[in-house]
Symmetry: C2
Subunit: 926 residues, 2 copies
């Protein structure tokens, strides 16, 4: 027997169920499921998405051959179930025909109500209901929908007959039009259809039905629907289903009505019905907004019986689906009919509350509660945003340009074009936005002083983005309509010329720059957040650490839930003050090891002090400190003026300084003299840094605080490099401990950020106490992508409509297909060379949910990310652990599985928002 293409439901039984979304669409599956569990649902049937695929690939004739018999049989069943006949001259069956795909695409596809009306049946309907006005109103609605949806006439060309009728009758609302006027409207629309299309409006109801089914199927390929799917990245679906359902009428008078509601408040998560109700109206009237609906609470007073019935339904549905539902219903002469039910969209705040409450109510387990919130929910909880009360029009009027939103949130302040200017303005207590072509470590102090950062170049993981994200500072990058004239202290953004000091506002969520300032609001963390996150913490296996460089940030990180520091970059410390900058510059300009050591000796107390602060802030948690990493030229000033000043301070000719800067210039600094190469060629830097770390550890330990320093070497690509550096590191550390007569355990480990280090991980692992994957650089080298430059083509690479080579920005989401292979290889090899080797990640990916899941599967011990991403990492780590357990023990996860059968909008999977496009390494999938 051929596969069933039409699925009936009605009178308490259904051929399908809620798990058949792929075949019945979300709406269709919901109707079947609701029927199955005994809820009041009008009878009907669903023509499957497979039938749609037949129509789209092989045409209308093929569709009729494929489903003709089934359609006829199901129409007959529907007639039996309702006791009415389709096209009957006395008591006609009317139906709605609606689209509905497996993923919700609100408003994208077509709906036709009141199908089955014609010149004959409309009179029968008028007679049966004793309401001519109602019958002709239904007919004109049907004619209008059919004319536009099936015949493709412009809506306006049909609407105008109603307008004319209102004018003629001198009334304001359609509801005031008398039956004859509506009948006249119907006649005119019919004439308009046949004149415009050369085909008469079909009086044959079966022809009407075929026309509507084809139109619904065709709407799957309508431009707006295709665009929507592209934007929402909906792929792999065969088409839409079409549901044909007995019409029920909410517009049969004052005991009828129609409504849309949520089973809990989608803004706050509060457990009460939340929605709108319109008396004496059909569904579309609620949405159309012509009449103002009442709240669902008011309906309680107006139709108390129906309301109690709705409460009962809501309770059944929540127990059944174990999630908050978004419902559509109609009340026909006091009787409730459920027309739709799907998992409801909700605010981040509500997501936490609903998850927490449902777990407490016993509807779901804690793992499921943790799975119900998304990383995006967390993100949106934290960032200050433009006050939503600001009118859209005002925003539009002050828009200067758009760029890439690198760090969400919003910030206002005066423009500063140099780091120094930003620092000065901040010192004077003024809010400031640092605006640069691109940022470099020289700008770090200025960035720190600023409220937000705007750059002309770079992508979401450019220097500006990474640093700003670390501080949770709003940042817009890649604003290519920005050009800066630093000398004249001017800039141009879009069409406007500004000067430094002018006020601008950044919206880092949207990636927009506005002129002037706007009010901002900072959301408060909901109660439920802490509770759900504590459950997440108890469920995850992965540790979560922070990437921070200062005591202040370290404290912030602990507040956000960090269990240690995975990456403390020591170079930012060199920019923290004029004095430090001078010392590091003197070190670089020093001729010979002795002069270099003198300059380093001046840096030592600064570094020691920083480390002491960080150790104290972390209070016994492990702290991974990376030794100096960037190429030395990044520490030197590049402008002539700055160079002159430096030359004076260090008493060298300006030419010497300029020459040294020039000498240090590199064609590809990313692959240049940096990372551990610096300590190999200048071991005295290593000595100073290790000494500062261990002296700080001793000092803090003396004050009774536990310390766990982990010293990390960057850019290792060969076991020999690590061997040399680890030996020297241990010598320098042990010297301090011996001098101070203290025993403090410490580790010496390495970044794995060069492909060759991953390839030789067995030999390196045998020597190292730990690995930390630097997936930013590993991605750059493995993919030959410069983070700072790739903005020119990477957006097109990720956009399927342009070049579409990559599923995601690999600097956002770890490239599992390529870079992931190296990571897995290195973990396997590293642990082969050193069983139990401690392994973590400290690239930006450590705070991105999909990548954290990969880290869990890959068997890492921890992830590390900027403080503001720590909650995301904690959640993602917990969700990954829950997933793993479900995979390992599917029976136990059965209950959770069943909830996934629920109707949905993409929220129903245990982990939301995780796109599954692109290749995955088999090990990573296992």
């Amino acid at each position: 027997m051929a596969r069933r293409l039409v699925h009936f439901f009605g009178n308490g039984t259904a051929e399908g169920h809620g798990g058949m979304k792929e075949i019945l669409g979300g709406k269709g599956a919901g109707l079947h499921e609701m029927t199955r569990i005994g809820l009041p649902v009008p009878a009907g049937f669903v023509i499957s998405t497979e039938a749609c695929e037949i129509y789209l690939t092989r045409g209308g004739e093929a569709l009729r051959r494929a489903i003709g018999g089934e359609l006829a049989r199901n129409l007959a069943r529907l007639e039996r179930a309702t006791g009415r006949r389709f096209g009957d001259g006395r008591d006609p069956l009317l139906v709605s025909v609606r689209s509905g795909a497996a993923r919700s695409m609100p408003g994208m596809m077509e709906t036709i109500l009141d199908l089955g009306l014609n010149e004959k049946t409309v009179l029968a309907l008028a007679e049966r209901t004793g309401n001519g006005r109602f019958a002709f109103d239904a007919f004109r609605r049907f004619l209008g929908a059919y004319g536009s949806v099936v015949f493709g006439l412009p809506r306006d060309s049909i609407e105008r007959f109603l307008q004319e009728a209102r004018l003629r009758s001198g009334v304001r609302f359609d509801t005031e039009l008398p039956a004859p006027a509506l009948q006249e409207v119907c006649r005119r629309i019919e004439t308009h259809i046949s004149e415009s299309t050369g085909r008469p409006f079909p009086q044959d109801v079966e022809e009407q039905l075929w026309g509507a089914i084809e139109a619904v199927f065709k709407s799957w390929m309508a431009e707006k629907a295709v665009t929507y799917r592209r934007v929402e990245r909906i792929t792999g679906l065969p088409g839409t289903a079409a549901s044909v359902v007995q019409m029920v009428f909410g517009n049969l008078g004052e005991t009828s009505g129609t409504g849309v509601c949520f089973t809990r408040d989608p803004n706050t998560g509060h457990k009460k019905l939340y929605g709108d109700f319109l008396m004496n109206a059909q569904g579309e009237d609620v949405v159309a907004g012509i009449r103002t609906p009442m709240t669902i609470q008011k309906m309680r007073k107006r139709l108390p019986r129906a309301y109690r019935e709705l409460e009962r339904v809501r309770s059944i549905l929540e127990r059944h689906y174990r999630d908050m539902q978004d419902l559509e219903f109609t009340i026909e002469e006091g009787r409730l009919y459920m027309l739709q039910c799907r998992t409801g969209k909700r605010s981040p705040r509500a997501a936490f509350r609903i998850a927490r409450d449902m777990a407490k109510e016993g509807l779901i387990g804690r793992p499921e509660a943790v799975s119900r919130v998304t990383p995006r929910d967390i993100e949106r909880l934290f960032y200050p945003v433009l006050d939503p009360k600001v009118p859209r029009r005002e925003l539009q009027g002050r828009l200067l340009a758009t760029g890439i939103g690198a760090v969400p949130g919003a910030a206002s302040g005066e423009v500063a074009l140099t780091a120094r200017a930003a620092e000065e303005a901040a010192r004077a207590g003024r809010a400031v936005i640092l605006v640069r072509r691109e940022t470099s470590p020289e700008d770090v102090a200025g960035m720190h002083a600023a409220q937000g950062v705007l750059t002309a170049t770079g992508g979401k993981t450019s220097h500006a983005a990474v640093v700003a994200r670390g501080w949770g500072k709003t940042c817009v990058v890649g604003c290519d309509r920005l050009s800066i004239d630093e000398e004249r202290d001017r800039l141009r953004i879009g069409e406007r010329n500004l000067r430094s000091g002018d006020q601008v506002t950044l919206d880092g969520t949207e990636g927009v720059v506005y002129e002037g300032t706007f009010p901002l609001v900072r959301p408060e963390l909901p109660e439920a957040y802490r509770e759900v996150m504590s459950w997440a913490d108890s469920l995850r296996r992965l540790g979560v650490r922070a990437n921070v460089d200062t005591p202040y940030d370290a404290r912030k990180a602990v507040e956000m839930g960090a269990e240690g520091i995975g990456l403390c970059r020591t170079e930012h410390m060199f920019f923290d003050s004029e004095e430090r900058r001078l010392a590091i510059r003197e070190m670089i300009l020093a001729q010979g090891a002795e002069a270099r050591e003198r300059a380093l000796a001046r840096l030592l107390p600064f570094q020691r002090q920083d480390f002491e602060g960080i150790f104290e802030a972390m209070d016994g948690r492990p702290v991974t400190i990376r030794l100096i990493d960037p190429p030395l030229h990044e520490f030197l000033p590049h402008g002539e003026e700055e160079q002159r000043k430096l030359a004076e301070r260090v008493q060298l000719p300006i030419e010497t300084v300029a020459q040294r800067v020039e000498q240090l210039r590199e064609s590809n600094p990313m692959l240049g003299h940096r990372g551990c190469r610096l300590c190999l060629t200048h071991p005295e830097i290593l000595d100073m840094q290790v000494r500062a770390i261990m002296e700080a550890a001793v000092a803090v330990r003396r004050r009774g605080v536990k310390v766990l320093p982990e010293i990390m070497h960057p850019l290792i690509m060969d076991p020999k490099e690590f061997e040399i550096l680890a030996r020297r590191t241990r010598q320098a550390a042990d010297r301090v401990l011996k001098d101070e007569r203290r025993k403090i355990p410490y580790l010496v480990g390495t970044m794995i950020e060069v492909p060759r280090a991953a390839l030789l991980a067995d030999a390196i692992g045998a020597l190292a106490d730990f690995f930390s994957f630097g997936t930013n650089d590993l991605t750059q080298m493995t993919m030959a992508l410069s983070r700072d430059d790739s903005g020119r083509f990477l957006p097109d690479y990720v956009d399927e409509q342009r070049i579409g080579v990559l599923p995601d920005d690999p600097f956002q989401t770890l490239d599992q297909a390529g870079v992931g292979q190296l990571v897995l290889w290195a973990i396997e090899r590293g642990r082969r060379g050193h069983p139990g080797l401690k392994i973590g990640i400290c690239g930006e990916h450590g705070g991105e949910a999909e990548s954290v899941r990969f880290c869990h599967r890959a068997g890492m011990d921890y992830v590390s990310c900027s403080p503001y991403r720590i909650p995301i990492a904690r959640l993602a780590a917990a969700q990954a652990a829950i997933e793993s357990r479900r995979r390992e023990n599917p029976r136990k996860a059965g209950a959770a599985r069943r909830t996934r059968r629920g109707p949905g909008d993409g929220r129903s999977g245990p982990i939301h928002g995780g796109r599954q496009r692109g290749r995955r390494h088999p090990v990573a999938q296992a």
Copy 2:
């Protein structure tokens, strides 16, 4: 029983043999082997290198305990064999004590002759020989050697007694001193020794022997020896052996003498004895150069019997060792004694002739003949060099500075500071040396016009080096004492100020810059070269192709033996003339696809014409053409003047041009918008290039020439990229073939030069017709090493005495440990996805012997390199194939193996010069 540490030889038997170089040293093993095969060798014994290790690690007492018994037993055997007794008052046994390690270290370690003389035995010797002069001369030599070697006195402090004696006696030569004068010299030296050291000269001969043995062993660690081993990269040896051999005397009168000779002429390879002979002299006199020796041919007349004996020995040795030998011998009263025999060093020319001749003589097989020449031999055959007749002193006087010798050979010419100036000078017929800070593709025309290239920065694989090597043009890079003031048309090299137009000479072999011009000589290819190379061609499995960009170079490549083009870079073509430069620049500056296409249309005929020329030159051989690769900014002028000119030509404001250049600037261009990314964002470039290729193919085919175009996409990192580009390539190619109604087979393949491409080689391989490894970029990315910048630390990385992380410069010799893993992985995966996939290499490594061997083992189909490296690749490919066959069939290779037992200087392995340091991937070794 403990391991034997002293090995006896004498009277036709020997405890050791020629294969025991590691234990007996080269010299010791040679003495044993010569004794074994019945040659006249004085008796003696060798104290093994293991004994040396005991001495060096545990000291003299331990040495005496370890070998004391063995030494006594062997001394006794030596006394029995010679019929004389050590220290005997009537007929004393005298011995020489010499050092000798497994690898020859000429002049680096110590030798003591005539040991066993003391105040008593010298008189006995005088009496026995009836020659007091001889006896005291021997004694004073021994005293001198002992005083300096064992007691560490300065040679001068001893030599002066001889001078004083000559002055006192009023004679010119030592040989004229009478016996009493010499006796007096001996007394004075003895007194000097005891006064200077506080210890008397030992009269006890066994004490003498111990002292000498320890001194020889100690000399292994002498500073000059350590330095020598570092420079020559000799590692892994435990120490030197010490041979103790009965003295024979070449200074017993006119039937005695001593000589050094080669069994064939080491300069020409001619089959005749070649060397020097000194009548009535001891070995050291030949080397000391105080008396002028006669040629070995003259000895024939003077000592015909001894000469015939020598001829007999030579013939036995060549048949035995099957290689040319370097001999030392002494004739004592008409009787020939062989003192040393080792494989002889030879000129490149002689290497070819000897290999060819020996194969023809049946001494060795052709595979062995091919194994006997080295890549360095070939290199040195080809390059023009400074006329060796120029006196060293003159060179020294005109030396300006040293840098890195990137391309061997030599060139003279006037300094040009810009590519344009170089072109102009060349057009005017003047020889020119292009001197730049560093070169870029903009300079290519100027480099082509120049005789040689000198840069201030960069290493052996910088842009300058790679391009110059491709043309076989002498090139010195990384000359850090060079600074250029382009504006004032001046430069400073070392201490001298020059201006453009001044003459300089580059020695690319040594990496030196001289002022003025020098005569150069270009060596002629020896006859034997072609013969040996044709044998190599018939033995190799790997194909050898060329990296060339012009018809001229293509012809050159065919001449050098290329079987196709493995890499034709299309971008150099864009710099070939002012017109082309303008067209490509217009293309880049074009606003919108249409304007871009117009500019491209102007480039089309140029490209087509280039391809036609190349196809014709290659005459049916496959030609791999790489589509545009470098970032676009490399095509634009960076100087303001040039930009202004361009702006005028393209009728754009200078600001627009400058802005575009600025926009295209990248922080890490290596990882930027280049390679296939250009054709993905600007597919019209691909269309133009493919059209030009196929139209050229059609045109050439019409003229009856076969063509095999292979179109190659660079920088692929994802199968999707290749899929998109391959589809478009095939569309564009097929369009031309359809329009022209021709069928021409062509291939579409990809570079594998990004680590990710290697990781995803299965998916990419399934789509591609061929892979070509771009190991230059693959090395850069896998190791995080920028070719252009790494000069700052890479030399230290390779220098074991500095940082010593890497065994070789990975841009010279493929990094098998790391990059090699990716290569092997990609080959295995690629062929898994596409059985029989054609695979080659087109990085610089394709012309480096060790890397070519790796390519053979890895199963590649061909290597490709610059024309001047093709003979090296052919040879290395043959040697790799021979090695494989030997490994697979060791019995058949037995004969060849045995020759490796020969004495040697590092030339004796089947493949010379291939250092085996560093890790190797197991597969690569198998």
